[in-house]
Assembly symmetry: C2
Homo-oligomer: 144 residues x 2
DNA sequence: CGGATATTTTACGTTTACGTAAACGTGATG
DNA sequence: CATCACGTTTACGTAAACGTAAAATATCCG
């Protein structure tokens, strides 16, 4: 029998690929977010582990705590079984969706402000005279 | 002469409006993000302060640190003057924009996964049989 | 006027998410 | 065989963002 070709990764491989430290990866394991197999003492990461790491980091970029990410992982693993669990999972998913949609709105708002500020910068640069103060729109950061 | 009707806020008013603690608001001041005037010892917040608070909280929802927000505030306040400052400001703005766009992509990805998970939940619930395991798509969280 | 209520300063405590050694295997390699 | 290069556990340290409690005003209200 041939061993089924299982794609695995070492900790440093993952660390390099995702540009995090091995310390961080071990920490995620400590927090119950990953659990790689072992070959002797060495950690061996599966494709699933890799995917989870990707999700952890994506969550982080969105300001999620490791605890929140873990909750989602756990629910994902255990939710199918009882109806109650499924409904609970759905509630959590809906809540997360609400947060994400709020973030979308926040991003739109910040992008608009960035654009305005950048435009003003370019105007000042083009103009060459570094003296004139911009009239501040009511809701601007540069208010009264 | 009439006093110009200056809209001001107490700390608790702001705290209630934005659903944060007064402690948090004072902390933001400590970190140089706000500086309300004083009437005696009491803090008096202007509309500008209120706007800044709003921006602080928006930044927080997007995972920005107070330090990052402060940097933007400071640049916004001081950038117009020298060309070098303006260009530096533009760099920071571009960088922030990059992060925001990455976040937009992240959000899209997570929303898609949430939708998939929710759909699966609904399918299981509709089906009524709480036993069948879902076949996991390659990049799913529920991989091998 | 005295108690309730709000505000202030000061200061120590807490959680999250790692960083930073130290001290120890272990397999490959010149 | 000694020395890397990589991996492991254990443990203490740290920055961020407040929480929480204490003690001191200040203000309002019946």
């Amino acid at each position: 029998m041939e061993k089924p070709k299982a794609t695995t990764y070492t900790i440093t491989e993952l660390a390099k690929e995702f540009n995090v430290t091995t310390r961080a990866i071990r920490f995620y394991e400590d927090q119950g977010l990953l659990n790689p197999k072992r070959e002797g003492r060495k950690r061996v990461y599966s494709r699933r582990d890799r995917t989870r790491l990707k999700l952890i980091l994506r969550g982080k970029r969105l300001g999620m705590t490791l605890g929140e990410t873990r909750e989602l992982f756990d629910l994902f693993d255990t939710a199918r079984g009882e109806e109650k669990q499924l409904r609970h999972f759905l509630r959590i998913l809906a809540e997360r969706r609400r947060i994400l949609e709020q973030q979308q709105r926040d991003i739109e708002a910040v992008l608009a402000e960035i654009d305005a500020a950048a435009a003003e910068c370019h105007r000042l640069l083009a103009e060459g005279s570094f003296r004139k103060a911009p009239e501040a729109p009511p809701e601007s950061i540069a208010g009264p």
